[in-house]
Amino acid sequence: MTEQEIQQKGYAHPEALVTTEWVAQNLDDTENIRIIESDEDVLLYDIGHVPNAVKVDWVEDLNDPLTRDYLDPEHFANLMSEKGITPETTVVFYGDKNNWWATYALWVFRLFGHDNVRVMDGGRVKWEAEGRPITQEVPSFGRTDYPVPTRDDEKIRAFKEDVNKHLEADGSLVDVRSPGEYSGELLHMPDYPQEGALRGGHIPGAANVPWARAVREDGTFKSSEELKAIYEGEAGLSGDEDVIAYCRIGERSSHTWFVLTYLLGYDKVRNYDGSWTEWGNLVRAPIER
């Protein structure tokens, strides 16, 4: 796929995606571009990665080790410095599982105002399928000066209080978990250690669109037309409304947040990272099955 083909898919912000070919051609521009691998399978980077890519571990790098929250601005600045990133650096994310964790990392970067971000369409699986180079060599770029940013938790992140207000206003919600999680059925499987939630089901009124429906079999994102058919035709969402996406801990929903924000151009989409592990444990929180 060429950059032109991404343009032809009709996205609101096609610049948010780059092709594997673009990455291959820009691998050595380490002065301006930093390629970041973010995976669910944390050993994949060690097994082999895109040359000149660095790794960001969503647990160890992006989460606070004690409080359930993301890293603070000082730690983010330090992480950027360690990875040789400046505020001007174009950061290109890619990863396994249809870029699930890549979009999660991207969303966290956006919390800190690092807006110059892209996703490699097709992710790791496409890079490998095309027989492109993989290395075990870990690059070192030297520390950079990255000013401590401000973290903005208002625009793209929702907390439970925001979800309550959103419910009162009859706002749109999209639950991106599997149908079994959405219906609450999975909590009833015997001896199945569902972590976190005491109750199963979904937030009242939420539509169910499993996150991976946004991608094709080769891992690339579906076209704008195809995405609209799913999110607007089937789920009834609209770019004119505020939308809150959630899943279990906010990782799968960051993928849907990326789709709605960048590919469909919705103005106000927030990711409720407390998600079901919070809502399903809240005393007296309304639940629908």
Binding site: L43, D191, P193
Partner: protein, 133 residues
Amino acid sequence: MDRKDRIALLVEHAGNPRHEGVLESADVAMPGGGPECGGSVVVYLKGDGDGGIEDLSFTGQGDTISMGAASLIMQKVHDEGLAMDEVLDLDYGAFVESLGSDVVGSRTRNATLGLSTLKSAIRKYKRDKRPGA
């Protein structure tokens, strides 16, 4: 073994899992984990009726750590001929240590998925075999 070797061992086991497959004659088929959270397995256990393990296998899908570690624990139980109580006595921390704490990092739940599900299978076996059960 250094870190690279420990990773290579997990990768090799994840790619070529030992004792993988459904055990039709199993007394217990125990599911564990979650398919969208590191990995999921089903452990198949057949007891010998005298505290021993007659046969054992697993099926699953997941990341390199969860699948590699599940295969390694299956191999250990088979090779060392561990009895059920000996498996229940296995220490999670020591098992993670044997895999390499530097490799597993914070993914201890993934690393112990196979072992914890095996322990659950043994407990269920014991419950089911209890007189009057």
